[in-house]
Symmetry: C2
Subunit: 298 residues, 2 copies
DNA sequence: TAGTTCCATACCTGTAAGGTATCAATACTT
DNA sequence: AAGTATTGATACCTTACAGGTATGGAACTA
C-alpha cells in the first residue's frame, strides 16, 4: 500500500465514479480500476460495491474514507511545519556592511548564529552606506551596518555605537603627537579620503573636523574603502581621519592612530533593515548583534 | 512522496545508520540513500546531516520522525478497524435446520440479520438432526436448529422450545376426534414416519407415545422429511405423529392435527453451534433468533 | 599507515504503473 | 424495442522507476 493507493481511493470515494476520478487524478480509468482492486485485495476488505454501473461505498469504505482524509490532512500539516522548521533554521541572510566594520566581530556573530540557525546561508557585502541604503530598500539586502544618519521611511534604524574620529598618519611621522604640532603637519599634508559621492556624510564630518582645527583639508586621493585608505597612509602617500574603531582592527598596520582632544565630532554606526522583512534569522541578528559583540570584545 | 519514503525515513531515523536501516528494510544501502535524498528534495527540507560518517537528525527531521510515527500508527489502526467492520458485516453463515422448522420464521430472522450484516452470505441446509450434529462438529455448519437432545462435547446447545406431539390423519377421517375412538383408529392404521437411522430419538418418542396409548405402531412407510410425511398422510396413505409446531406451518394441507390429551411426551427443539466458533454473525444469530421469532409470531 | 567502513554516485536490469483496445453489462435515447 | 452510449473490468503492451552491483571519496580504526 502506498499513498498513491490512498489518494486514488479517496478520489473515487469522493466522485463515486471511476472515470471522473481518473480525470481528476490525470490517469486513465483502467489503471485506476486496477489500483483500487489491488488496495481492496491487500486490505482484504471491499471498499466499494459496483452495481448497475454505479459505485457505492461500503460501510468499511465510508470509515476508511474518513480516516484517509484525516491522514492526508495530518500529512499536509506535517509537511508545512517541517518546512517551517527547516526555513527558520535555514534560509539566507544578506548582510551589508561598511568597510570600517570590524569583520572579526561580524564573523563572531555569525558563528554564534549558526548554533541557532544551523543551516543558514549568509551573504556578506562590503559596500558603502549609500549602496547599502538602496540595497535595503530594494530588498537586495536583509540588514546593513552602516553610517548614520539613514533617512528612509522603509527602513528601521538602530544605533549600534558612536565612533569618534582619529587622525591616521604614517608610523614614522608619529612623533608629532602633540596637538599644536599636529595641526600644522596636517595642514601641509595631502589627504586620502572617501569621495563625497560614496560617503557624503562621512565627507562632511571630515570637513567639519578640519574646520574646527583651523584648516581646509587637501584631499588629493579619493578612494572608496577603508582598507585602501589605510594602506595608502602606510605607504606614505598622505594622511587621513577615520573612525576610532578601526584602530583595533588594523593595529598591525604601520600607521599611527592619534586621538583628537576636545573634538565633539563623531560618527554614528547604525544597523538598518526593512520594516517589512519578517525573517526569523534577521530578527535574531538584530536582537543579538550588540550583545554578541560585547561578549567577544570582553 | 509515498509511504515507502516515510517508512525508509523512519527506519533511518531510528537507526541513524544507512546500512543498518537498509538491512532492516531488506534493500541495499544505495537505493535507501537515494530514496532519502529524493524525500529531502521533494520536501525541500534537510532531514539528516551526514558528518564524519555519522548520521544525525536535524530539528526538522526530529519533528518529522514524531509525526511520521503518528501517521503510521493511525494507518495501522485504521487498517485494523476497517477489516473489523468488513468482517463483521460480511463473512458467511452456514445454517442447518430440520425439516420441521418453520422456514418462514427462519427467513424472517435472516432478513433482520441483513440490517446488521449487510454483506453476509447465508447457506441454508435442510438436513436431519444427526447430519447436522456431524456437520457442526466438522465445522461444515456454523449453527443448527435440530431436535434435542444433542450430545457432543464440542457443541453448545440452547433450548429453543418444547414441542408436544399431535396425531396427523387425513382430513376426511377427522371425525374421530374423541380420544377413545382415536386409539382404536390409529391401532388399525398404517404409520408413516422417519426411519430410525435418520431420527432415532424422534423414532423412540413415537414408540413411547403409542405405548402410552396402548398399542404398537405399524410403521409401513419410512421417509426422511416432514414434507413427504404430511403429503403422504394427505394422500390417505396412512397416519403419523408429528410435532405440534408443524400445524401452523402446514395449515393449508388437507390433514387434521389432533392434540393428544394427558400425553407428557414432547420433543425439544434446540440450537447448537461449535463452542470454538467466534463468528460475529453467529453470535448475533444465537442471541437474536428467539426474540426475532417471538416478534414475527406475535 | 594500511585496512575497513561509511554514505553518495554511476550504471544496469526487471518489474510494476500507466497506456490503449476492447469486453460484457447496463443505462439512456429515439 | 432497437440502437447508441457509458460504465468498470480485463488483456496486452510500453516505459519509467525502484532496486541491484560496482565503486568513489572521506573518515575511522587498529
Amino acid at each position: 500500500m502506498e499513498l498513491r493507493h490512498l489518494l486514488y481511493f479517496r478520489t473515487v470515494a469522493e466522485e463515486l465514479h471511476f472515470r471522473k476520478a481518473a480525470l481528476k487524478l490525470f490517469i486513465s480509468q483502467p489503471p485506476l480500476s486496477r489500483q483500487i482492486k489491488e488496495l481492496e485485495k491487500e486490505l482484504g476488505v471491499q471498499l466499494f460495491t459496483r452495481k448497475d454501473k454505479r459505485v457505492y461505498l461500503t460501510d468499511a469504505g465510508k470509515y476508511f474514507k474518513a480516516e484517509v482524509d484525516g491522514i492526508f490532512a495530518r500529512l499536509e500539516e506535517t509537511k508545512g511545519i517541517v518546512r517551517q522548521i527547516h526555513n527558520n533554521e535555514s534560509g539566507e541572510l544578506k548582510i551589508g556592511y561598511i568597510s570600517s566594520v570590524y569583520q572579526s566581530h561580524l564573523a563572531d556573530v555569525l558563528i554564534a548564529m549558526r548554533d541557532v540557525f544551523p543551516y543558514i546561508k549568509t551573504n556578506l557585502f562590503e559596500i558603502p552606506t549609500l549602496t547599502q541604503t538602496k540595497g535595503l530598500e530594494l530588498g537586495n539586502l536583509d540588514v546593513g551596518i552602516l553610517r548614520g544618519p539613514v533617512k528612509s521611511d522603509q527602513l528601521k534604524v538602530k544605533t549600534l555605537f558612536f565612533d569618534p574620529f582619529v587622525v591616521v598618519i604614517p608610523a614614522q611621522k608619529g612623533k608629532h603627537k602633540r596637538q599644536e604640532k599636529l595641526e600644522a603637519y596636517l595642514r601641509g599634508s595631502p589627504f586620502i579620503f572617501f569621495s563625497k559621492e560614496i560617503a557624503p556624510h562621512y565627507y562632511d564630518k571630515l570637513i567639519e573636523i578640519c574646520a574646527r582645527m583651523g584648516f581646509k583639508p587637501d584631499i588629493v586621493h579619493e578612494v572608496n574603502n577603508v582598507h585602501s585608505i589605510l594602506q595608502l597612509v602606510e605607504a606614505g602617500l598622505g594622511v587621513s581621519i577615520l573612525p576610532y574603531s578601526l584602530k583595533q582592527q588594523y593595529s598591525f598596520l604601520k600607521v599611527s592612530f592619534i586621538e583628537l582632544e576636545n573634538m565633539p565630532v563623531s560618527t554614528e554606526v547604525v544597523m538598518a533593515y526593512k520594516r517589512s522583512n519578517k525573517s526569523a534569522a534577521l530578527r535574531w541578528f538584530v536582537e543579538n548583534y550588540q550583545s554578541k559583540i560585547a561578549r567577544f570584545s570582553g
